[in-house]
């Protein structure tokens, strides 16, 4: 590799380098920060992310392939990275007070989040199965540890262990698929694979390899049949980490899925049928099981499974519109889901766990503003206009119908009608019950800012979707 090529590669991956370097510095600085000064860590972490974001936006102008075709900084990656930055910064803002209440505010917490961010960024930019693997592992290893961060609590430990074991198996399956691909085509580069296949694209060996890779990736987004870990991990993990995982790593998983599926090799093999089935079953399972949940975090876990299913429909639709619809969906989902999680996180204060739905009975009576925000997020998650959640679903349906998959669209909307039930049930609890206790939410300025920002996104994208839609379409076309 010549010096010029090396320089180009470093330039293309500058944001990732910033994040990793920042994480390492914070790891050392963290040991020097005295107790009670942890505020500094939060702001330093946010600063790292913002510097990386600045770098990403400055480099966004052109396509920059790097590291001999293993990595690319293109608009597609930029879009996802912006989502990741957003998610990470909001998680930091939500974490400050919560970490104090739960006693988990050590520097490692923030460092691991930053490293997870770098893993997600690599996933979004990876164009080689092996670099995908590197990003994936970096991300999930950090989330394993973060899941178990409430180390005094049994269910946090249990969740972490479960996550590690199942995650390890799925990674193994993924790697096996990669090795099959390499054996059949002699390359692991996404672009090279299609060119290397001379024979029938429906070769059983290739199909098997693709199915294995899909299985490995589907695990990360929590789609059926690899969803078992989601409810337990979401319930056991610190709520801030649950919020992060429900949006960030999921979006990263979809970034890779889209990259792999936009690949001509995969597009040629009728894999969309598998994806469509996965999407339908995932959505059905998430929606129906969520109906009977009493724990707020578990409910949101199943809701996130259902949303993954809906986004999967966009993948099944394929094409530029399909990809753009998934991307827009993830962006909007980030806003509304972090919003609702923000409230759950905030309610955790003193003896109040805020984890049981019944705990929220009558919230509207004493906290009108909060109740109204929850109403907004919940109706957005249910996909009722004029919120952003509606437009997200609408665009996926447009992509499906455009490709002639009307039946899939019908299945999708029927299942989202089922899903609407459990969201409006929470609205019912908030508005139509009498309060049983006194609410004391830990409303810090940082949390308030997060809620204001997510609410603005949830209603703003719903009313003026044009610009965001253009962004997603632009990014999906690639280049």
């Amino acid at each position: 590799m010549t010096a010029a090529a090396l320089f180009q590669s470093i330039l293309a991956s500058l944001p990732e380098i910033v994040v990793v370097t920042g994480a390492c510095i914070l790891l050392i600085l963290g040991q020097l920060v005295r107790k009670g000064q942890q505020q500094f860590l939060v702001w330093a972490s946010i600063a790292v992310v913002l510097i990386a974001a600045l770098g990403t936006l400055m480099l966004a102008g052109e396509v920059r392939p790097a590291y001999s075709g293993m990595f690319v900084a293109d608009r597609f990656a930029v879009f996802f990275k912006v989502v990741f930055y957003l998610v990470t910064v909001l998680t930091f803002l939500l974490s400050r007070k919560y970490a104090e209440i739960e006693g988990i505010g050590s520097s490692e917490y923030y460092v691991l989040l930053l490293l997870a961010l770098s893993g997600m960024m690599i996933m979004a930019s990876a164009t080689d199965l092996l670099s995908i693997y590197v990003g994936l592992e970096l991300m999930v290893l950090c989330t394993y540890v973060l899941t178990g961060f409430l180390r005094q609590q049994r269910r946090s430990n249990e969740a972490a262990l479960k996550y590690v074991i199942l995650g390890g198996v799925s990674t193994g399956i993924f790697l096996y698929g990669v090795s099959l691909i390499y054996g059949l085509t002699g390359t692991t580069q996404l672009d090279g694979m299609a060119a290397a296949v001379t024979g029938d694209p429906l070769d059983p060996g290739l199909l098997l390899a693709v199915v294995f890779i899909v299985a490995g990736l589907v695990f990360k987004v929590g789609a059926v049949p690899f969803h078992m870990w989601v409810p337990d991990v979401y319930e056991g993990a610190p709520t801030t980490i649950t919020a992060f995982m429900s949006v960030g790593p999921k979006a990263a998983g979809f970034a890779v899925i889209l990259r792999v599926f936009l690949n001509p090799l995969v597009a040629a093999s009728n894999v969309w049928i598998i994806v469509a089935v996965i999407a339908a079953v995932t959505m059905a399972l998430g929606s129906f099981v969520a109906l009977v949940q009493d724990n707020f975090k578990r409910l949101l876990a199943y809701s996130s499974i259902a949303h993954a299913g809906f986004a999967m429909f966009g993948v099944a639709a394929g094409g530029a519109d399909g990809a753009a619809s998934v991307m827009l969906y993830l962006l909007i989902y980030a806003f509304m889901n972090l919003g609702i999680f923000g409230i759950v996180i905030m309610m955790r204060n003193g003896d109040f766990s805020g984890e049981v739905i019944e705990d929220y009975a009558g919230l509207a009576k004493s906290h009108r503003g909060l109740a109204l925000l929850m109403l907004l997020y919940l109706f957005s998650l249910a996909g009722i206009p004029p919120t952003a959640g509606f437009f997200a679903k609408f665009y996926v349906l447009v992509a499906l119908v455009e490709r002639g998959f009307v039946m899939l669209a019908v299945i999708a909307v029927l299942l989202s009608a089922v899903a609407a039930y459990f969201y409006i049930r929470i609205v019912m609890v908030i508005y139509m019950r009498e309060p049983e206790g006194v609410f004391d939410p830990a409303l810090t300025p940082a949390v308030a800012a997060t809620l204001a920002f997510t609410a603005a996104g949830t209603i703003g994208i719903g009313l003026f979707p044009a610009w965001f839609l253009g962004l997603a379409q632009h990014a999906a076309i690639g280049g």
């Binding site: 009108r368 009307v406 039930y421 049930r425 609205v427 019912m428 508005y431 044009a466």
Partner: protein
């Protein structure tokens, strides 16, 4: 057009709702809500003043790009079919506020915000000329209505709110798929006027017809998807019942008029007999159910099913008299049933019972109230001289022209109507005073009079001199018929 009059009409209540959120005093909230709705009503009168009855073209149109990448625009406009309902909605807006003046005594601010939001969205539905915009208004109504029923309703409110929400949502989502399919078949546009000009293959039309039918039938509601209505009506607060009966139910029928007939003419003609039969079933079945009710609100609710059956019957006769009668009857039903729910609400505030068996001899206790009740009861059973007589006569003559058996069923429905309405009136107003009204009951006061009198005026005005109302819809209905039969072939 320099002043975007329709945008003003649609968004005045929305702005009012937003402003109300910052008000603390309940009385100020009430007066502000009343002020906003009255202002909106006056804007509507200004709109009708400038309305040109000689053309079927959309008037007061305004267009702005919204999501250009998907061909979505913000387009508003009204014609003779939507104008009466914009007016009706605005009229019932301030009547609903008056009806909730003392009936809503907790969370007044939230209630008025929901009511005004509802008002804005309903007006939006009737004004929208872009399918996507229409759908946004249509579906967003679920949120405030869900709250109005669920928070301020009766004892079974939660169940009723859920039922209302899920029925309507399931129906609307099918409509959404239909809209998207139409979008791709109609040249990637959501513009309603462009889509009306498309000539779709019959197969596509048939699918779309049924997709739309599910959504509209739930809203109307037609048998067998009517079961949400009695629950929602009985549990909703008075203002909620008025809005539901007077405006929401019209939206299903409006959907048929605005989308099914002009956009899917061949399918409409093809399935018109099916629709006629469904309507006839609703008329008779709703009437029979109403006959068996002891709850005043339930009785009016089931009578709504029967009367809305008459509306859809009129629409699907696909002839001039039937259609004009159907549309006039939509307006009449809004006025009359709105007034009946208001009357029931007024008496419920005094006695806290809705059971017909608890009443009797009300005429002696509250003569003015009873006189109004008599007028609205007679209007509901379409006595000559009242508004419904004109509409029902037109529908019946259209129905007999279209299908003899269905016409006969409609007449049977009218007979049933006389039976249950007169029976109700006899038990409530006449005879000896019963336990329920043993105590002295206050007659209507000035506020209640202000709410109920305008509706009585419309009952008699349309009954005695319907010409101005028929003139407004005439040109548009004729054009609609030309659209249906022009493309759908001779009947």
């Amino acid at each position: 057009m320099t002043i975007p009059l329709l945008s003003l009409i649609v968004f005045t209540p929305a702005v009012g709702a937003a402003a109300l959120m910052f008000v603390r005093n309940d009385d100020v909230v009430r007066w502000m809500a009343l002020g906003v709705t009255v202002l909106d009503f006056m804007l509507c009168i200004a709109m009708l003043g400038g309305f040109d009855t000689s053309t079927h073209e959309m008037q007061f149109t305004e267009t702005r790009p919204w999501v250009p990448a998907l061909g979505i625009t913000y387009t508003l406009g009204i014609d003779g079919i939507s104008a009466p309902f914009v007016f009706l909605t605005a009229l019932l807006g301030w009547i609903s506020v008056l009806a909730s003046w003392v009936a809503i005594d907790r969370k007044v601010k939230e209630f008025m915000v929901s009511l005004l939001a509802m008002q804005a969205l309903m007006l939006g539905v009737f004004c929208a000329l872009d399918l996507f915009l229409f759908y946004v208004f249509w579906e967003a109504m679920l949120i405030p209505m869900y709250l109005i029923i669920g928070v301020w309703g009766g004892d079974g409110r939660v169940y009723a709110a859920f039922k209302f929400f899920l029925y309507t949502l399931a129906g609307s989502l099918m409509f959404l798929i239909g809209v998207i399919v139409l979008y791709f078949h109609g040249g990637e546009t959501f513009d309603i006027r462009t889509l009306m000009a498309q000539d779709l293959p019959l197969r596509v039309q048939s699918w779309l017809f049924f997709a739309f039918l599910i959504a509209f039938a739930v809203k109307v509601p037609m048998v067998p998807v009517h079961t949400w209505l009695p629950d929602a009506h009985v549990q909703a607060p008075t203002a909620g019942s008025i809005i539901l009966a007077a405006v929401l139910l019209k939206m299903g029928a409006y959907g048929f008029l605005r989308f099914s007939l002009p956009m899917l003419p061949e399918a409409t003609v093809h399935y018109s007999t099916l629709m006629l039969v469904l309507s006839a079933v609703a008329i008779v079945y709703g009437g029979l159910l109403a006959l068996a009710q002891d709850d005043l609100k339930k009785l009016v609710a089931y009578s709504s099913i029967s009367h809305m059956g008459l509306v859809t019957l009129g629409i699907f006769t696909l002839n001039l008299r039937g259609l004009e009668g159907g549309i006039l009857q939509m307006f009449n039903h809004g006025v009359t049933t709105g007034a009946l729910f208001l009357s029931v609400g007024l008496i419920y505030e005094r006695t806290h019972t809705r059971s017909i068996a608890d009443y009797g001899g009300l005429m002696k206790a509250a003569p003015v109230y009873t006189a109004f009740l008599a007028l609205f009861t007679l209007s509901s059973m379409a006595l000559p001289g009242t508004n419904s007589f004109v509409g029902e006569l037109l529908v019946l003559s259209g129905a007999f022209a279209a299908n003899l058996a269905v016409g006969a069923a409609a007449v049977l429905g009218a007979l049933l109507g006389a039976a249950y309405l007169l029976g109700m009136y006899r038990k409530v107003a006449l005879g000896p005073a019963s336990i329920g009204v043993r105590f002295k009951i206050r007659d209507v006061n000035a506020r209640e009079m202000a709410a109920i009198l305008p509706l009585a005026v419309f009952v008699l005005w349309i009954g005695l001199y319907p010409k101005p109302f028929l003139e407004i819809i005439d040109a548009s209905v004729k054009h609609l018929l030309a659209q249906v039969h022009g493309k759908g072939g001779a009947q």
